[in-house]
């Protein structure tokens, strides 16, 4: 029986074949400047759900030590200079990255893609990997690309207040910004 993670991997391997998806604006790039108001050069960052890697490269250019992961490698260029691990965010990330964690976890426009039953499990995993904090951006809009693969890619479509209130269950939010269409949150890290 194929696991949910395997099915998601297959879906996004197909999705990254789509030219419109490849050309879509990168949330990882868009929010990198804001993230660097929190993270300092020299700190380690896990880009969780790195997609095509544009965001990760931007973070690296700011002097951050970036490790990347995604459900599939299919979005990355053939030659990829940063560390990469294939991982489903709702699985135990310590099995993938070891017990030490990162200073920060950076996860942009990923959570709405996670199967709904695993969304907050994924957040819990990200919090456990981060010593200083977790930077999240989430889209609050339906996805426009899933029609090309016959699936709804944004499996959670909720507004800013829903995400804010859900994430507050992990502790007070350092930052929460409604950017209308998307939102940005910063949570304290929970790594030992």
């Amino acid at each position: 029986m194929t696991s949910i993670a395997a099915m998601e991997r297959a879906t996004y391997s197909d999705v990254w074949e789509l030219e419109p998806y490849k050309q879509a604006p990168s949330a990882g790039m868009r929010y990198s400047a804001l993230f660097t108001e929190f993270a300092r050069p020299g700190e380690t960052v896990l880009d969780a759900g790195c997609g095509d890697g544009r965001g990760a490269m931007m973070l690296a250019s700011h002097g951050l030590y970036v490790t990347t992961c995604d459900i599939t490698r299919a979005g990355l260029p053939p030659v990829w200079p940063l560390e990469f691990e294939e991982a489903a965010l709702w699985h135990d990330l310590a099995d993938v990255f070891g017990p030490h964690g990162f200073d920060w976890v950076y996860c942009c426009d990923v959570l709405q893609h996670v199967p709904v039953q695993f969304t907050m499990m994924a957040v819990a995993q990200l919090v456990r990997q981060a010593h200083r904090g977790v930077f999240l951006s989430v889209s609050t809009q339906p996805d426009p690309y899933g029609i090309w693969v016959g699936k709804n890619l944004h499996q959670t479509v909720q507004g800013f207040a829903w995400w804010r209130d859900s994430l507050r269950e992990f502790g007070p939010l350092v930052d929460a910004r409604d950017l209308v269409g998307s939102c940005v949150f910063v949570l304290n890290g929970g790594a030992a």
Partner: protein
């Protein structure tokens, strides 16, 4: 509260220049505080058919209370501003929403008592005490009572929201700003209660509002063009006339975008019903 102060000559010897009622540094400080309270932003919505009863604190409120209740029983939404919120609650009316725009510290009192089902829409220029008054409430949202080219606040909002924010401008008082805000939310049909822009007897509000007790009073006469037979006298404070002037301009330029009915026998109701524009110089 306008972003572009235009001198308004009330009559010879008295000119008003509308401006926000706190100094610029306090205003910036207020906005910097407000945007960090982790509330959702209000954003323009498509048109919707619901009717809104927008209730201000003008002295005609008591006399128009039965009309207000009738409209609410017909399904209109009750939206209040400032002290009208408590006035309605004390009469067992439950506002759907309360709007506060004023940047002064004293506006915090307009958020009591707490109604769990009420939506609280606060302008980002509101004082930190006002924001603290709604801490932990379920339905709170921020909007920006700012012109899109406001040189003071645009950089602050652009930086925090990465350029994604909606300016809601228009009007020198909370009532007119509320109309602009609600219109941005898609509402088209407005019934105004307690938005009089004049004294009625000695009353400037339907309830105690000491901030206005020292307002100057002037008698003005107004009539439709070439119809002095329809002239009426009103007692007004300078801010009443500024609101009336704003109101007429607002209707002139935006009037095709909504349906507006002003209840009561105040100056604004008269201006709307008669087509009169500017009050004549005061009677001697």
């Amino acid at each position: 509260m306008t972003d572009d102060p235009k001198p308004f000559t009330v009559f010879e010897g008295l000119t008003l220049e509308a401006a926000i009622n706190v100094a610029d540094p306090q205003l910036v400080s207020n906005v910097e505080y407000a945007i960090r309270q982790q509330h959702p932003q209000m954003w323009p919505h498509p048109p919707q058919a619901d009717r809104v009863c927008l209730v201000g604190g003008g002295p005609s409120l008591e006399s128009t209370f039965p009309e207000l209740v009738d409209l609410l029983n017909d399904g209109a939404k009750l939206v209040t501003v400032n002290g009208a919120y408590r006035w309605c609650v004390e009469r067992n009316l439950r506002p759907t929403a309360q709007i506060v725009v004023d940047a002064r510290q004293s506006s915090a009192k307009f958020l009591e008592p707490y109604l769990p089902a009420c939506r609280y829409f606060l302008a980002s220029q509101c004082h930190p005490d006002t924001w603290d008054a709604v801490r932990d409430r379920q339905y709170v949202a921020v909007f920006h009572s700012v012109a899109p080219d406001n040189e003071l606040l645009k950089p602050v909002l652009d930086k925090y929201y990465l350029g994604v924010w909606a300016p809601i401008s228009g009007g020198s008082t909370v009532a007119l700003r509320a109309i602009a805000f609600l219109r941005a939310l898609g509402y088209l049909r407005f019934d105004l209660f307690g938005v009089d822009s004049c004294f009625m007897g000695d009353a400037h509000h339907a309830y105690v509002q000491p901030e206005n007790d020292t307002d100057s009073r002037y008698k003005v006469r107004t009539c439709p063009t070439n119809r002095p037979d329809l002239a009426r006298d009103f007692w007004v404070a300078p801010w009443h006339l500024a609101q009336a002037d704003d109101f007429v301009r607002f209707i002139k330029y935006e009037g095709e975008h909504f349906l507006l009915n002003v209840h009561g026998d105040g100056l604004l109701a008269y201006l709307l019903a008669s087509g009169a524009e500017v009050p004549l110089p005061p009677s001697s």
